[in-house]
């Protein structure tokens, strides 16, 4: 086993453990903390795939911003439920469905013939190549993404605002 293989299995085990924690944790806040573990492990997977930029973005935006937002939402909606009421009564069926889906995908993946997997050679993409592709070849999708972010931000502010404009007018 090479070093990369050992790191991959450690990181993959961390990601799966974090994912299990997200779906099985009895407390909502623990689930959010397990989500941070899973997201940082996914950043490690990105580093093994030689895309450091994505790993940095993953840690900054996902593990940093998104989880803080989720924790704020948990705080503001104050889930005072009993821990055993966090999951619905349909969990056996849901477990069966998820296991069947995962089994079907893994069976398909292992029996298919993928390109370029004989020696496990991958090519590192430098930062500047990724940046110039993003701003030249993908410039229009990039601008549309910024518009989507803007609309989502305005929509979130409008939705979450306390609505008492009548009192303010007087």
């Amino acid at each position: 086993m090479t070093v990369a293989q050992v790191i991959f299995y450690v990181v993959a085990a961390l990601a799966v453990a974090g994912g299990l924690g997200v779906v099985l944790a009895k407390h909502a806040v623990y689930a959010a903390l397990f989500l941070i573990v899973a997201l940082i492990a996914v950043a490690g997977v990105y580093i093994l795939l030689a895309s450091e930029f994505l790993a940095l973005v993953q840690i900054l935006i996902y593990a940093g911003a998104v989880t803080v937002l989720l924790l704020f939402a948990l705080m503001l909606t104050r889930t005072s439920d009993l821990p055993e009421a966090m999951t619905g009564a349909q969990w056996p069926v849901a477990g069966l469905v998820a296991a069947l889906l995962g089994g079907a995908i893994i069976a398909t993946v292992t029996t298919s013939d993928w390109p370029g997997d004989e020696d496990g050679m991958i090519t590192r993409v430098p930062f500047d190549d990724l940046g110039s592709a993003l701003f030249q070849q993908w410039a229009v999708p990039f601008e549309i993404a910024s518009l989507v972010l803007f609309v989502a931000l305005v929509g979130a502010i409008v939705l979450a605002r306390e609505d008492e404009p009548e009192e303010e007018g007087e």
Partner: protein
Amino acid sequence: MEPVAQQIPLEHFLALSAILFSLGVYGVLTRRNAVLILMSVELMLNAASINMVAFAAYASPEKFTGMIFAVFIITIAAAEVGLALAIILRIFRNLGTANVDEVDELKW
């Protein structure tokens, strides 16, 4: 662009992504709280991103379209989380609950 020897088959990345996606599906189907459902959706989005980046690294390293896709997935996920949390906050303020099985105003 120098090649790096990893000795990890592409299938292992795809299998990891399949496991994470199934966990996300299980979470979406079982959790009652809308915020926890959103966390499971994040797991599924991450699984899809792993797939994209793995294919980009192994199958078409000269174009790396998959990595660009992963960047856009992260962007859209950030927008989605912000908007969904505003909606959940609104539902909580109007109905006093964030559990999706108690938000049943549309049926009688």
